[in-house]
């Protein structure tokens, strides 16, 4: 199954820049559909990035994060070829994980 997570992690030597794009509806629970009925809340609540067994970035998200969320950050201490482990969980309990090689 194709992962919902697309990650690009590139290191310049000292810092590693991470960009992640996740496929998810991120329904806030405040939007009505064409029939005027509320679309139930369905959004990622937590997202984590791990390098070498250590959490390097973590997000707590609400329904106010845009559909197909994008996030960018940088961290220190990784080198080319290292693995970055990414995982999310949503308010319905669905999850996905992926591992990206740092380039």
């Amino acid at each position: 199954m194709a992962s919902s997570i697309r990650v690009r992690a590139t290191t310049s030597g000292e810092t590693t820049e991470v960009q992640a794009l996740i496929q998810h509806p991120m329904d806030s629970g405040f939007v009505k559909d064409a029939k005027g009925e509320l679309i139930p809340a369905h959004f990622i609540t937590q997202l984590t990035f791990e390098h070498d067994g250590k959490k390097v970035f973590a997000a707590d998200w609400g329904g106010g994060v845009s559909k197909d969320p994008y996030v960018k950050f940088s961290f220190k201490g990784a080198k080319k070829g290292d693995e970055l482990k990414i995982g999310w969980i949503d308010n319905k309990g669905a999850t996905d994980t992926t591992t990206a090689k740092i380039q």
Partner: protein, 164 residues
């Protein structure tokens, strides 16, 4: 590091309450998906902060105190967002010992949009895309050295992004 220790013990105190929330999101019965290590690395989801309507209540629920405005918190946000469903906003700061960064939109039905944990070794900055129901102040809160600092900017929204 003193602050993060305090935060950890606070997290432990919340474990009992947290257990309910974890069951709610189904972490307890995952056959695959998040590895235990990754799940265990997650802190408790700040449910109450994400229920608060106003940014003041959300900040209080999240941190238990109020921020002071600081020009060391730099927010990059558009003057005008044509599409409120996707508003790119980033923040960076020259403050030291940053442990978390939060994004809030005053006029959204739920003010808190995102809260990021910044461990030691991670650059204190983040870029993301948020929804805005209408023209509103966007507030960024940076927790650094146990204190809260904020930057506020009004973003005009042409078409709201919350179907409001």
């Amino acid at each position: 590091m003193g602050m993060s220790d305090v935060r950890f013990s606070a997290t432990r105190r919340l474990i009992l309450q947290g257990a309910g929330a974890v069951a709610l999101v189904g972490l307890g019965n995952l056959p695959f998906g998040l590895t235990p290590a990754l799940a265990a690395a997650n802190d408790k989801y700040p449910e109450d902060a994400f229920k608060a309507k106003s940014e003041a209540d959300a900040i209080k629920a999240l941190y238990g105190k109020s921020p002071e405005p600081s020009d060391k918190v730099k927010m990059d946000a558009p003057e005008i967002a044509e599409n409120g469903a996707v508003v790119p906003i980033s923040v960076s700061t020259t403050l030291a010992d940053v442990t978390s960064i939060a994004f809030l939109v005053s006029e959204n039905p739920v003010a808190l949009v995102a809260s990021y944990k910044i461990p030691a070794g991670t650059v204190p900055g983040v870029a993301n895309r948020i929804k805005m129901a209408r023209t509103s102040n966007v507030i960024v809160v940076v927790e650094a050295g146990g204190k809260l600092y904020s930057a506020t900017k009004e973003v005009k929204v042409t078409v709201g992004g919350c179907g409001g």
